[in-house]
């Protein structure tokens, strides 16, 4: 076994507490050195609305500017740093689908802790699906295909724009025909929360269509 990120051989140490725990062997997919490059966000002090890491608990400046929008809360797992950028470069843009395994466990674990009637993922465009071949978000949830609640029109990728252009983006999402969200508590999953524009568009759409509440979950913020 080699580390998925640095290709160095992986070694698993057997510790006494683990042996006595009678747990199955947890095969790591990345080495400790690579894993430590990712910076987990401490939930207690993170911004309650967008999930950004910060030293003290408060609504961050970006979120204060969103005040007029309907209520929306996001939970983020990691800070978007260089390691995360490199990860997305390889996973999303280079298309190394194996790398979904790096965050599969942690995303699925966190998802289980959130109460949800339905889990909705941000879809990728048909063009992206045809070239990339997978949806990076549903990859972590282990299907890799658009899950069918939301549809998306052909757009310019958010990652190609600056902040102003991102914020000015028009609603790109639509609800797939035959989907009924009334009274449901939704958890909306995406890869990165940057300005919040994408997530809020999707959340607003679902709230307008009768959803009871929408909580966000992103890997990075």
């Amino acid at each position: 076994m080699t580390c998925l990120l640095c290709q160095r051989p992986l070694t698993t140490k057997l510790t006494l507490p683990w042996l006595l725990s009678w747990q199955p062997v947890a095969q790591p997919v990345v080495c400790t050195a690579c894993w430590q490059q990712f910076q987990p966000i401490i939930l207690a002090t993170a911004c309650p609305q967008c999930g950004r890491a910060q030293p003290h608990w408060q609504v961050c400046r970006d979120c204060q500017r969103w005040a007029a929008q309907p209520d929306f809360q996001n939970v983020a797992l990691f800070t978007y740093n260089e390691a995360m950028q490199a990860y997305f470069q390889h996973y999303k843009f280079q298309g190394d689908y194996r790398l979904r395994a790096v965050f599969q466990t942690i995303v699925q674990q966190r998802l289980q802790q959130l109460t949800a009637d339905q889990v909705v993922t941000i879809p990728v465009t048909t063009a992206t699906m045809a070239t990339r071949g997978f949806n990076q978000v549903t990859g972590w949830l282990d299907t890799g295909i658009n899950d069918g609640v939301l549809t998306v029109a052909k757009t310019v990728a958010q990652s190609q724009k600056d902040r102003q252009a991102r914020l000015a983006t028009k609603q790109p999402f639509g609800l797939a025909p035959g989907v009924d969200l009334s009274g449901q508590r939704i958890v909306l999953v995406d890869d990165v929360y940057t300005t919040g524009r994408t997530m809020r568009h999707a959340a607003n759409l679902m709230l307008e269509n009768g959803a009871n509440s929408v909580t966000g979950l992103t890997l990075a913020r």
Partner: protein
């Protein structure tokens, strides 16, 4: 995109790029998928079904991702090589080959003309590049497309200017993973062996320099790349000073013709290896002290200004060794270089231009680079990373210039390993053959050389 950017290549194209090309561009599937096996058509790797899987029964190659992803979603595009070279470049190199070199050079030209697979085994510093010139000149005159590839980017960067100088009326294309310049269709290309994966039946003559070097040695992907980058009836020439057993076995079976040159261009023998046993060299240096012997040698360098290379087995030892030397000899200027060093190319260039007195490095500089008149010191020569070939190559960095054809090769080691003994034996053998060849040459009447 121009059609000629695709001559003899196999590339993944975006829809926009494809739209600019004529309709008769060939395309074929990037992966061949059968029930039992999936093979990448670019790198030849056989892929594991589960690992290579994308959703909806699609697959991708995870072995050559760095060159852009090959998958069952997009084809590889290709235009057959038309050899569209209106000018026939001439050799502008004016140097002379020694008679021994000339014999090998004639062999190579014959091998090119006969479309053969050939191995040139010449000692380090024999002048391999110069021996290529007559054959390459002949091939270029035929209108053939020629590439010189090496597993090491440093080797490519050293070869390119020499070839450019030798064929001044044409432009040499240089391709490697770290460059920013765009691809250009040229008759003569210098590239890393990884770049060959982007070619398909392109070259009439393909020269692989330092064929035994990492990552080429024992890398099936790169052998596949060579087989497919060359035209079906093209000539392949392997160059090395330390051929692997596998290559020599092929020569014995007659699958590969062999030319052999055991003498350096300046007709001096290879410097022999002096081994000093210092089992505790590392624990001393880790504490910031230099062992007495090392201190004496480096002290001599500090006063004489003699330039030198220090090889260490591992990257994390580089800074420790440098710190110990800096503490003892603060006036000597030196740098450390390793494979992933962001300033790697710049630092090697500084050493070449004599801006620093020494470099501390790992095996990345073991071959293909020439710093005239240096000495070499290997710390921890008993470490398994130093194979026999690596040690012979390292020793071969010394005495490469006409002005200083000798020099010191010192190994500091905990013990005499098999690799060290074999390296010493190999140098001794080559020197014995070289001495015999030199004696033969000196007995030949001088008129025969004219």
């Amino acid at each position: 995109m121009q059609p000629k950017d695709l001559y003899g290549r196999q590339l993944l194209l975006t829809a926009a790029e494809l739209a600019t090309l004529p309709a008769d561009v060939q395309s074929r599937a990037g992966l061949t998928i059968t029930a039992s096996q999936i093979q990448c058509q670019r790198c030849g790797s056989t892929l594991d079904h589960r690992t290579a899987q994308l959703p909806q029964k699609q697959f991708y190659c995870y072995q050559c991702l760095n060159l852009g992803r090959v998958s069952s979603l997009t084809p590889l595009y290709h235009i057959p090589e038309p050899n569209e070279f209106p000018q026939r470049p001439k050799l502008t190199w004016t140097g002379h080959l020694t008679s021994a070199q000339a014999v090998c050079a004639a062999d190579l030209q014959r091998a090119f003309a006969a479309h053969e697979r050939h191995l040139l085994w010449a000692v380090t510093g024999a002048g391999k590049t110069e021996m290529l010139f007559p054959g390459l000149a002949w091939a270029l005159q035929q209108g053939w497309r020629v590439a010189v590839a090496s597993p090491r980017v440093d080797v490519c960067l050293e070869l390119a200017p020499r070839l450019q100088a030798a064929f001044a009326d044409t432009t040499v294309a240089v391709l490697h993973g770290r460059q920013t310049a765009a691809y250009a269709y040229r008759q003569l290309t210098v590239c890393t062996t990884h770049q060959l994966l982007r070619f398909r039946a392109a070259f009439d003559v393909l020269v692989i320099d330092e064929v035994d070097a990492f990552p080429f040695a024992a890398n099936q992907q790169l052998y596949y790349a060579v087989d497919h980058a060359v035209k079906p009836h093209g000539a392949v020439l392997y160059l090395t000073a330390t051929p692997s057993d596998a290559l020599l076995r092929q020569t014995r079976r007659g699958q590969l013709k062999l030319s052999y040159l055991p003498l350096r261009f300046h007709q001096h023998l290879l410097p022999t290896i002096q081994v000093t046993l210092l089992p505790k060299w590392w624990s001393a240096i880790a504490k910031g002290r230099l062992p007495a012997k090392l201190r004496r040698w480096l002290g001599a360098y500090a006063t004489s200004g003699q330039r030198f290379l220090i090889f260490v087995p591992r990257i994390d030892q580089l800074t420790v060794v440098q710190a110990a030397i800096q503490r003892q000899f603060p006036t000597m200027s030196g740098q450390t270089v390793y494979s992933a060093d962001p300033d790697r190319l710049a630092k090697v260039q500084q050493m070449r231009q004599e801006q620093v007195q020494y470099l501390i490095t790992t095996t990345i500089l073991e071959r293909g680079v020439t710093f005239p008149g240096i000495d070499v010191l290997v710390l921890g020569a008993d470490d398994p990373v130093f194979s026999t070939a690596a040690l012979v190559q390292i020793a071969g960095r010394v005495g490469r210039s006409q002005q200083r054809p000798t020099g010191l090769v010192r190994f500091v080691s905990g013990s005499y390993t098999r690799a060290i003994k074999q390296a010493q034996r190999q140098i001794k053998l080559v020197n014995r053959k070289g001495r015999r060849l030199r004696d033969d040459l000196s007995t030949v009447p001088t008129t025969a050389n004219d």
